[in-house]
Amino acid sequence: MAESITIEVQRYRPEEQSQPSWQTYEVPFQPEWMVLDALNYIKDNLDGTLSYRWSCRMGVCGSCGMMVNGEPVLTCAAYLKGFTPGPIRVEPLTGFPVIRDLIGDMSDFLEKLSRVSPWIMREEEPPLSKGEHLQTPEQLAEYKGYSMCINCMLCYAACPIYELEPGFIGPAAIALAQRYNLDSRDQGAAERMKTLSDAEGIWACTFVGECSTVCPKNVDPAGAIQRYKLAATVDHFKSMVLPWSER
């Protein structure tokens, strides 16, 4: 078994360079190590200037997403042994402006996320004396899959449309909108439809489908967007045939 493995890391230090460059490191090969462990080894032992995000190390916080050999992955869930004999190329997630080294700027996503109102919206709130909003297991199952999103941005990095059309709201934000639309307690679907049914919303998606493929939580944003398209189309024709009916 190899004693070490080569990691090629994309470096970008804006005070020193206008274009990114590659830097190569040799790290000990440990079969139980993840790519994130190798980066931590570099940071702790070889080069303290390397910058990247990470936190939980257990696939929950969604902060350590990077491109590894051209694929968007959570580096805390990607074994080094999956990339032997190397070298392993680590880059920041595509589609996002790079702030430094492996750190992308997620501001665009956060702004778009707020646009889809990712919270339960109610037209009228019943008094507390009426008790809680009960849900059947079937009603929970309707949206639960979409609620597993950890905002890791792998779906945005896998989506070529997001990079080509920067206005596109994007997979995770639409999946999260759908998470609330399908929640039996929510009454904000019509409000969200105004944002999502325009050219930068669901109709910008050309159904590449890679967002669902790379999702570490099996959220299936591509499915959410296609369901939304179908719902928007049905809604449109309903409003044409029955213009007096409430959508």
């Binding site: 804006p14 020193e16 206008s18 402006p97 790079v98 079937e138 296609q226």
Partner: protein, 141 residues
Amino acid sequence: MVRAVNPDYTPHHPKWYRRRIPIFWWIRKRAYVKFIARELTSPFVAYAAALLLMQVWALARGGAAYARFLAWLQLGPVLIWHGALLIILLFHTVTWLNLAPKAIVLHVRGRRIPDAAVVAGHYAAWLAVSTFLVWLLVRGW
């Protein structure tokens, strides 16, 4: 050690790097190539639909016009071209039908119909329509 300096950098101000998207971004990954191939087959679907309309139009113009249209269809180059068209249309249809469960989520008595059943339903409908058309063409008038 002397460190390089980026003259365009203003201290304490972010300076993002935005990569230029290569024209051939879609050859980077097999899934992207498949997606582009599916998109590029769309005009051929439109051509096939127009061909069907032309056939109906020729039929409406009478027996002689329809015979001329059939003779054109039987020309060697046209046969080769339409053979290739059939492969293109099959690729478009199969890749499209396989995506159907992403958009169509059906429930029966509160239970979600499995994706495989939605795909099977589409293939069954395709087979039924194709069988009917073949029967229509073979039986003659």
